[in-house]
Symmetry: none
Subunit: 463 residues, 2 copies
Amino acid sequence: MVLNREVLKSKVSSSVESVYREYVKVLAELVRIPTVSAWGGDGIKEGCEVVNSLLKERGWATTTVSGGGFPVVIAELGSGSKTVMFYNHYDVQPPDPLDEWVSNPFSLAEKEGLLFGRGVADNKGNIAARMAAAEVIQPYLDDLDLKLKFVIEGEEEVGSPTLSNVVDGYRDLLRAEAGFWETGYVGRDDVLSISLGFKGMLYVEVVIKGPNRDVHSGNAPLIPNPAWRIAKLLTTLKDEVGNVKVPGFYDDVDGEFLKNAEELLKGLDPEELNALKEELGIKEFVGGVEGLEAYRKLLLTPSLNVSGLYAGYTGKGSKTIVPSKAGVKIDIRPIPGQDPQKILNVFKEYLKSQGFADAEVFVESMYRSGYTNPKEVIVKASVKAAEEAYGKPPKVMPISAGSGPMYLFTHVLKIPMTGAGVGYYGSRVHAPNENIRVKDFIRGVKHVALTLIEYSSMRESSV
Amino acid sequence: MVLNREVLKSKVSSSVESVYREYVKVLAELVRIPTVSAWGGDGIKEGCEVVNSLLKERGWATTTVSGGGFPVVIAELGSGSKTVMFYNHYDVQPPDPLDEWVSNPFSLAEKEGLLFGRGVADNKGNIAARMAAAEVIQPYLDDLDLKLKFVIEGEEEVGSPTLSNVVDGYRDLLRAEAGFWETGYVGRDDVLSISLGFKGMLYVEVVIKGPNRDVHSGNAPLIPNPAWRIAKLLTTLKDEVGNVKVPGFYDDVDGEFLKNAEELLKGLDPEELNALKEELGIKEFVGGVEGLEAYRKLLLTPSLNVSGLYAGYTGKGSKTIVPSKAGVKIDIRPIPGQDPQKILNVFKEYLKSQGFADAEVFVESMYRSGYTNPKEVIVKASVKAAEEAYGKPPKVMPISAGSGPMYLFTHVLKIPMTGAGVGYYGSRVHAPNENIRVKDFIRGVKHVALTLIEYSSMRESSV
């Protein structure tokens, strides 16, 4: 049968309108479970089971695998010759600070067109939206010659520490021709943002020891205090304008990525980043960068940030001690081409060269940066579908400022990935009162379904 | 009646042996209450009430006054013409880190001759010991022409912020001819250490602000992170050998104090401080100082220490944010002659001059350093009594490395103060597993009782 794509697209769009309410209920079922990976335990276990049965009930063939950590749900629907994968995660960030939530973070609350709850944007809303898209597209999967595949992990919010084991151990199960990354969001200009890459991650905790126990600070004139040294250590890491001084830190960036990225940056409004200043109450960006230069700094350079710093007593009021240790939590985000292991090595070497051979470096998580070439069919398909679902061409970002284990898919499994998602600029991802708009949920479902149709069509015509 | 002092001393000593167990129970009652002044609340309230009733039950006339903060218990026993005061505090340091305690910090635990619990050395053990000494001396108070007076405050561990109000408001109630300061301890050589002075305190928290909320650290390349600036700020405060670079920081030291102090330092074993290195597992003292030079550094110079340092996420595992603020808790200890307000001013000026005009400086506590002349009768009496109670002449220190609001007593109320106490070198004051030795508790009680007898005798003979 030769499908009339235009008729199909219109049919599918109207189906979305009639099924989305069911998938708001599915979202509610997902939000209800506290799948906080930082906590582990029953929440993760139940979350995995519920995802599994929600998919099974809808005709997906599911299996659960593990790389030694929390389980990964893999599910397939349809039997076409081309497989499109949805990468998602059922885990969420911790909900605290709890007292800033206006509703229970683990109970979906709908209010004036908004849906509140931990994970609605990151990333349970996208699981529900993709299940909805699958339902409306299911009758046509054979005609489109597509198979759909969910890969839903449970450790994304803690750095996907065992996902590489799953990728190594289940290559066949993870085969696909193209995929959707977990997220995407709508900006203030009501334009969908599609990110084609994610930075990597090298999260380390650097610890300097002092006396073998906290000691009364009357002794401070004699006892070396590790707080002074951790402060000194930090000042050796960056120059006055915020550039990292570790030799080799900026090396090995993928030239093809940079070339494509520069091209995509031209499409961005250089003034847009300024909204961030006002929103966060800051006078100027690090190093005084502006416009396109600020985009380059944000997206096309690896970053090194202090997420946490501690020594001694940090509670209310006063305590007088020479602390026994001082530490700093540093998140480094490599960009495409960079090897976090190599960065770790030069980082450690640099600390030694600066007189901090005694600093202990503990690695919390480490993975590379991945990206998709904007010329890939799945990207083109999702761009075209976005024009239809949102009424405007999307903003295609070469890479996100954030991190994600995309490399395992784009570079290890060689699956080009596009972005799509139901969040918006006000989603407060990782923060209290995480929320999405119902209208974005609907548009997000349509966008996924339409992308699948466009992808099938473009693949056929490119053959 | 003419007392036979030698008979009396022997009687008193043997009474101590029969009553001390009761006062270990009193100590247990005191330790049970979490009188953490940094927390405030019910612990402080209950602590004050229990101290009050323990004294009342033993015949003390008690009253409670306040300078606007936590209450001060003042109690009197006897009606002699010369009043000897015990300055103490019922509050304690926070017990954390809790997981390093081998027993509940708020439950007295006895094990192999040691008594464990928060405050046993600093300073509840001394309250109990002095109550015990008062019980054995009480029958002879009239003959000794002595009145005893307790002044027990509840804010010592947070810098006695309102004690000066009490001193201003209740001069008559606080009258005394001589006094015992709160502490004293026995060294490795089994010699009691009597400190005749205490450094002052200027405890400040310096805060630097960043974005108006914690923000996803993907934005780190653009958003100024206050952790870098607090680190930079710290590195401007001291030079390579640990000297404070703030102009004026070392000015205005009392010349008479220094002269007496140098004299007393001659009596100290210059090697003794080295034990501290081994105990704390450090290779060398700050700036490589040794011997007498180390004593000078420890005792005769004002200090500046980092007691706490914080920014962002300091919990387990990882969280990726640019923190909205970074802060440092700094304790400065002025020595006699120095005005902490003046030091605060030059400190703030210096921060401005170094580019930290935006750093906010919050004062947690501020008081001057006080000391007693070693020629005072109460000092001589306590030295003689120590020879009897400990079998060896005590070590008289010109000043402690620690701080205390002694200035209000020695310089405002003009009460010469000697030191005495039940701690020892291994007491782990302010740290987990704070403990005293039962034998030091017994000797400490004797020392106080014998000092009172010697003091009465020396006063009479000096008239």
